[in-house]
């Protein structure tokens, strides 16, 4: 079973990389960009065969390591 974890900075946390991308897009003539926030995607290949179990495992992984919940939010997608 595969899972994807999307880790993003919480609203209100400064994202200088997102800002730099925003400016670069503006420089390339993309005028309609109000804001850019950068995050990361982590892909996991799991031994678990039960979707609920996989999700609870990944949830624990996010809290322990994959995300720093002081500054980041995470969202899990399980691909059955």
């Amino acid at each position: 079973m595969k899972a994807k974890v999307f880790v993003t900075l919480k609203p209100g946390v400064l994202d200088p990389q997102g800002k730099a991308i925003e400016h670069a897009l503006g420089g390339l003539g993309f005028d309609g960009v109000n804001e850019v926030r950068q995050g990361k995607v982590i892909e996991l290949d799991l031994a678990a065969e039960d979707e609920a179990k996989a999700e609870s495992e990944v949830e624990a992984m996010c809290r322990k390591l994959l995300a720093n919940t002081v500054i980041e939010n995470y969202r899990i997608e399980i691909e059955a």
Partner: protein, 231 residues
């Protein structure tokens, strides 16, 4: 004073740290490899700077979850003094020993330069040799030194007198123009609720040898050596 300096793969500031501690206390620290699981009999444990685990995932995230950090946490809970500098500060926030997190510098540049620090909390075991308001000049060398915590946490840190250093200029001015990396409220170093766990981004160990130009980091190490005279 018996001390340990923790070494992770990618740590690179352990020798200067060990030199600084030896200069102040007369005793060379043990360098302890990250696979060790016990830290008994130490008065001071230092997590030095560097790029532990290549800064993979987030700075300090891998090191923060390593076996040795469980031992550091246990020691801190027993009241052992713990100092984290630069990557060590990042690791202490990742383990939860200190609140907040260190983000990418606001200017997106690695900053390697001298900066002024204003001492705020001047209390044992780390800073009783400094006086409140005293300005020292030490080096910073980091890409992720932008201290972040939510407003409630910042208010608590200030209310409890847990801010040890803020970025300032030579005159001690603390404002947006003297904030070199975007840290909230110019914070450069904080302690935990007990005052015995200190994390800071600047490198006091780099300013302890007159031959290398500066000795303004010495009071911190002299404070520790004075406060932690072991049996």
């Amino acid at each position: 004073m018996k001390s340990a300096v923790i070494l992770f793969p990618g740590t690179n500031r352990e020798k200067d740290m060990a030199d600084a501690i030896e200069r102040a206390s007369g005793r060379r620290p043990d360098i302890v490899w990250h696979r060790e699981t016990a830290l008994d009999g130490y008065d001071l444990i230092v997590v030095p700077g560097g790029f532990s685990y290549g800064d993979y995932l987030r700075c300090g995230a891998m090191a923060g979850n390593s076996p040795i950090m469980r031992a550091v946490k246990d020691a801190a809970n027993r009241g052992v003094a713990v100092l984290g500098v630069c990557n060590g500060f990042q690791i202490l926030t990742e383990t939860g020993l200190l609140p907040g997190a260190l983000l990418r510098n606001a200017g997106l540049k690695f900053i390697c330069k001298y900066t002024h620090l204003k001492a705020e909390r001047c209390a044992p075991p780390f800073t009783q040799r400094l006086t409140p308001g005293q300005v020292t000049e030490v080096a910073v060398a980091h890409n992720e030194g932008n201290y972040f915590a939510d407003d409630a946490t910042l208010d608590r840190l200030e209310g409890e007198g847990r801010i040890v250093f803020r970025y300032c200029d030579a005159a001690g001015r603390v404002d947006a123009t003297t904030n070199l990396n975007g840290s909230r409220r110019n914070i450069a170093g904080i302690v935990d609720t007990t005052g015995r766990v200190l994390g800071m981004m600047p490198h006091p160990e780099d300013a302890t040898d007159a031959g290398l130009g500066k000795t303004e980091g010495m009071p911190l190490f002299e404070s520790v050596a004075e406060a932690l005279v072991s049996a």
